[in-house]
């Protein structure tokens, strides 16, 4: 009897998880369709998006550049040293293009923005729900998806794409300094090696990947924030659930991008 109820619990949890995932993806799909529709973009939407870009990217810019320079330089320096030690100097370009531009830049940027803006958006939505602001907006016939979701998602997507590119450029540039120190390599040689290793599709991959990261690290906090309870105690629970699912989404997108790249 006990074992049956235990199995029932597992089955119930699986079904509930599946229903939640289905609902989340269905809602994400609806929001994505709105994203592609030009009629969704009204002056107010654009204005909110601009404000969100300011809070997400511009305010973060100084700290972001410092992190990129420090972390990127250390990473590039150590890696180039190891490359020299194991005699794979011929693959510097492939390494910088393949690892830094395609993998490290988007994921580092995404993590920084998810920690800073994703959690803030999640808490903002949960508080709005607890204060019944969302109910009030719905009562007045305001389209919440267009007014709250869309501008934030667009803003974070634009921010992640731009900051990822900036991160890749800064780290690649710091690689120039280290390649000059470790390999006695000049600017022309270094840029030629990097340029030869970068394929044009890398730009598209990086933009799509960063945009996907940006979409989900905003949509998931918005989704879980808007589904929070009406009590203030529900706010941290909603933030926690939202951020855990953001982390899972980042891993899934990273894995899918790797699979797509090497297939």
């Amino acid at each position: 009897m006990n074992s049956v109820s235990w199995v029932e619990k597992i089955g119930g949890s699986a079904l509930s998880g599946w229903r939640e995932l289905h609902q989340l993806l269905g809602f994400a799909s609806a929001v994505f369709r709105r994203l592609l529709s030009p009629s969704s973009y009204r002056p107010l939407t654009v204005e909110i998006a601009v404000t969100q870009i300011y809070f997400t990217a511009v305010q973060l810019l100084g700290f972001f550049i410092v992190v990129s320079v420090v972390f990127g330089s250390l990473f590039i320096g150590m890696t180039l040293f190891v490359i020299k030690e194991i005699g794979l100097t011929g693959y510097i370009g492939d390494f910088i293009a393949g690892v830094v531009v395609l993998e490290m830049a988007p994921i580092m940027t995404t993590l920084l923005i998810a920690l800073r803006s994703g959690s803030a958006i999640n808490a903002e939505m949960a508080v709005m729900k607890a204060n019944r602001e969302l109910d009030a907006l719905e009562a007045f016939g305001v389209d919440i998806a267009n007014y709250l979701f869309l501008p934030r998602i667009v803003a974070v997507m634009v921010s992640v794409v731009l900051l990822s590119a900036l991160f890749a450029i800064i780290v690649t540039a710091s690689g120039l300094v280290f390649s000059a120190i470790i390999f006695d390599m000049g600017f022309n040689t270094y840029t030629e090696i990097i340029a030869k290793a970068i394929e044009y599709r890398y730009f598209a991959i990086m933009v799509i990947k960063s945009a996907a990261f940006g979409f989900f690290i905003t949509f998931i906090p918005l989704y879980y924030g808007s589904r929070a309870g009406y009590q203030l105690t529900a706010v941290p629970v909603a933030v926690l659930r939202g951020m855990v699912n953001v982390f899972i989404a980042i891993i899934i997108i990273e894995v899918l991008s790797l699979v797509a790249r090497f297939l």
């Binding site: 601009v50 511009v58 840029t191």
Partner: protein, 314 residues
């Protein structure tokens, strides 16, 4: 914060970042010779294995071009078209050798080697055969004998471990011995197969031990005697010292005897001279006696005297 200022900052951020990205993209495109004039050359390979469109063409480790097209010829060979930026075309000459390298680490590439840069530039119409260096196959070739050897070893191990194999027999025998060992009290009992035999052997061993003790005592006594004998013979007052003194004395006496012998020899030589003189004297005497005898005979023959039988010597 004023709205205009916020929008200005966001606008500035977007424009400057996009401009930076575009500048980087243009630099990459320029370095990838996207805006450069290209020269194309044609190569021929027996197989298309390892070849792909976009594959790099290297000269001295630097990428100077790419494989732009692959197609099958009428004879079933693979025609490779490579595009090289005009600025690098000087490295592709009539005498250049083209090699398809398939390294163990990294992707395949076409490597251009030009011994004589002064040779005429390779014509776009000329089709140059390409050599292939396959590191992976080379490694496989080298590893093949090793794999065969390992296979042989594995076969031998298999044979050794087969049912009814010598190894299995040895293991079975070992098991028997182990079982016997576990059943018996000692190895000795297992070896003799008889408990009485073991006891007899033990008694014998005890006797041998007693004999050994006796021999040990005897040897100790002999040792003691030998030590005393050593002292008697080799000691300060031992026999050897006395014999040595006697020998020294004898040696001195021999020396004196040598002098005496020398004197005797001299005397003997003198005596020999004397003897010779005596011989000569005797000979003279003999001759004289003979003459006298002859004279007496003549006298007897001449005169009638009574003959006496005895003749007295003078």
């Amino acid at each position: 914060m004023a709205r205009d200022t916020l929008q200005y900052k966001v606008g500035l951020f977007i424009v400057s970042t996009v401009a930076l990205i575009l500048a980087t993209a243009v630099l990459v495109a320029y370095k990838k010779d996207l805006f450069a004039d290209l020269a194309t050359y044609r190569l021929l390979s027996g197989s298309g294995e390892g070849l792909s469109q976009g594959m790099p063409v290297l000269f001295s480790g630097f990428e100077i071009g790419k494989v732009s097209a692959l197609e099958l010829s009428e004879k079933g060979e693979v025609l490779i078209t490579i595009s090289v930026a005009k600025k690098h075309a000087r490295w592709v000459r009539e005498t250049s050798a083209f090699t398809l390298e398939k390294p163990l680490v990294g992707s395949p590439r076409i490597v251009v080697k030009t011994e004589d840069p002064a040779a005429p530039e390779l014509s776009a119409d000329k089709i140059v055969p390409i050599k292939t260096i396959d590191d992976i196959n080379e490694v496989i070739k080298k590893a093949q004998p090793l794999v065969e050897r390992i296979q042989s070893v594995a076969d031998n191990v298999d044979k050794m471990t087969n049912e009814g194999s010598e190894l299995n027999k040895i293991i079975a025998d070992t098991r028997k011995i182990t079982k016997m060992l576990s059943d018996k009290k000692s190895l000795l009992e297992m070896a003799t197969g008889d408990k009485k035999g073991q006891e007899t052997l033990m008694r014998t061993l005890e006797q041998v031990a007693a004999i050994t003790a006796t021999v040990d005592t005897t040897v100790k006594r002999i040792d003691s005697m030998t030590a005393k004998a050593d002292e008697g013979v080799f000691g300060d007052k031992g026999s050897l010292a006395t014999v040595n003194n006697i020998l020294l004395d004898i040696e001195a006496k021999f020396k004196r005897l040598d002098a005496l012998i020398d004197n005797a020899v001299t005397m003997s030589a003198d005596l020999q001279g004397t003897t010779q003189d005596i011989n000569l004297l005797r000979k003279d005497v003999d001759e004289t006696v003979s003459s006298l005898r002859q004279l007496l005979q003549d006298v007897r023959n001449s005169l009638p005297f009574d003959q006496k039988k005895e003749i007295k010597l003078p």
